[in-house]
């Protein structure tokens, strides 16, 4: 993961601003149609999602549907006052309604606006990537960090060095991540850049883990350094940016399948840590959204079955999927 960050920072001068360079985990299948205007994300590839297929291979493009929750979030982000502490937005909803993709939409928007983005695609796996702005070389470390007797990072050296250190010395990798995060928080408060912390599946930070020590006793999440650092990021004691979080039931263990409300998935501890936040509910498609999704599929010839073009076919799809985006996608995959 640190290698990813280093690659990003070293390649930054070749990259257009607002372009993603995630070194792929899983690729998404984005569903799309445009209500108002299309939001093409040609370079948007590796956001982990429930599905593993690549829309660029099938359609030649990757599109997002512009939906109400995302629009609301963008409106709030446009009117943020950067002097106040970072506002937390929590996107929640039932399974398969489009929380991750709303997050992606927001990230895309912020990337176009030249924010520095810390995106953690999967709360369970903590694969975090940094999307730097054009001038990321200017992010300087502001303290001296001593790694061991022989190595230390001086004050004023660029952040890339800390990342290098973390990659080469695996033992200090988690500390390196912690330092990177701390520096980012501190410096965004100074107003050098605007930071967007986007975490998908944030309930994993407060849940129970399934990891065990050698003597088979369970590890509590607080003891993991990465989780500790991420929790510090999500606390709103810094300003100059925003925090957008998503809940996800699919990766969580020990939680009932039907749970989707913040209180249920975060637990008491998580809820108190994240309180206060602005909740955004993402629900199933409205009839108009459903229609436009089907139109997109029909335009791209994704729905090959002859009966899918008919009124009866559409009614049946609506009934079978209950306007749930994920279910609709699975149905249309084989039709």
């Amino acid at each position: 993961m640190l290698k990813g960050i280093r690659r990003l920072i070293s390649r930054v001068h070749k990259v257009d601003p607002g372009c993603f360079l995630h070194t792929g985990t899983q690729a998404p299948q984005s569903i799309a149609a445009h209500l108002d205007n299309q939001v093409p994300l040609e370079s948007h590839r590796a956001i982990s999602r429930t599905n593993e297929s690549d829309p660029v291979k099938t359609f030649g493009e990757a599109c997002l549907m512009v939906r109400k929750p995302a629009l609301e979030l963008l409106h709030y982000l446009k009117n943020t006052n950067f002097a106040y502490p970072a506002v937390r937005y929590l996107v929640y909803g039932e399974k398969g309604t489009g929380k991750t993709l709303s997050l992606c939409h927001v990230i895309h928007f912020c990337a176009k606006q030249d924010w520095l983005i810390l995106h953690i695609p999967d709360g369970k796996n903590f694969l975090s990537f940094l999307q730097p702005a054009k001038d990321s070389k200017l992010i300087k470390v502001q303290e001296k960090y001593v790694w061991n007797k022989r190595e230390s990072t001086e004050k004023g050296s660029p952040l890339g060095e800390v990342v290098e250190q973390g990659i080469t010395r695996v033992k200090n990798a988690t500390d390196a991540v912690g330092i990177v995060l701390k520096e980012l928080k501190r410096q965004s408060s100074l107003g050098i850049f605007r930071l967007l912390v986007a975490v998908d599946g944030v309930n994993a930070l407060w849940g129970r883990t399934t990891l065990k020590r050698e003597d088979k006793s369970l590890i509590a999440p607080e003891e993991l350094a990465l989780i500790h650092n991420l929790r510090k990021m999500v606390k709103n004691d810094w300003h100059g940016g925003a925090i957008v979080l998503t809940l996800s039931q699919t990766g969580s263990v020990f939680k009932p399948r039907r749970a989707y409300l913040p209180q249920e998935l975060l637990g008491k501890e998580g809820f108190d840590a994240l309180d206060p936040f602005i909740p955004m509910l993402v629900s199933n498609y409205t009839p108009k959204e459903f229609e436009s999704c089907l139109q997109y599929y029909l335009e791209n010839n994704w729905l090959q079955h002859e009966k899918a073009h008919t009124e009866d076919g559409k009614k049946e799809l609506l009934f079978l999927s209950n306007a749930n985006p994920w279910q609709l996608e699975r149905l249309c995959a084989y039709l």
């Binding site: 297929s53 090959q304 049946e316 084989y334 039709l335």
Partner: protein, 242 residues
Amino acid sequence: MAASAVKGVRGWSSLPLVARRAVLRLPGVTQVRWSRYGPEYRDPKIDKEYYHKPVAELTEEEKYDQELKKTQLIKAAPAMKTSSVFEDPVISKFTNMMMKGGNKVLARSLMTQTLEAVKRKQFEKYHAASAEEQATIERNPYTIFHQALKNCEPVIGLVPILKGGHFYQVPVPLADRRRRFLAMKWMITECRENKHRRTLMPEKLSHELLEAFHNQGPVVKKKQDMHKMAEANRALAHYRWW
């Protein structure tokens, strides 16, 4: 008394036993599969269009049919037959043949994943191809499936016939349903047996279907072998008496 009680339990009408057997009697053939329904039960008709027709549009026969239904007994519709517009009897039959141990959920998911895999492969090819080739690439997984199975159906088959103490493989014309069955059976056996331990069924099946669609691949080869064997055993065709 006991016999009539049995008849009542089974839902048979008061037709005598002898008349029922006479309907199905063939020389040298005993019935293997019994149905709980008697011969007077009619098959259900599952067709939304038929029932949505207003009364005025019905022809004479259909009106007679409707009247008859009020007194006739009808069998229950099978659970897997729906009035869905997306239903395909060939696909259902294939799914049932793939099913093991009654695990229809798994068989159906494998089938849908196969169709999806076929579709994705064809879309990839489509995007990689030039404009002229794009017109020839078929992207509908259902047409590919049907055409592939049609390409795998043998025209003539071999039947072991006992003559003079020896079994001879005699070439014999096959019924439609026997041909469809053989095509599906060969396809499924091929995909189960000749694959790497770690390849999944949808991947292998989609690959075989695409090959069969283009008249290549092991299943079409098996059909051609069958034809060659039948051609080789032409002389034995006289052993067939039907």
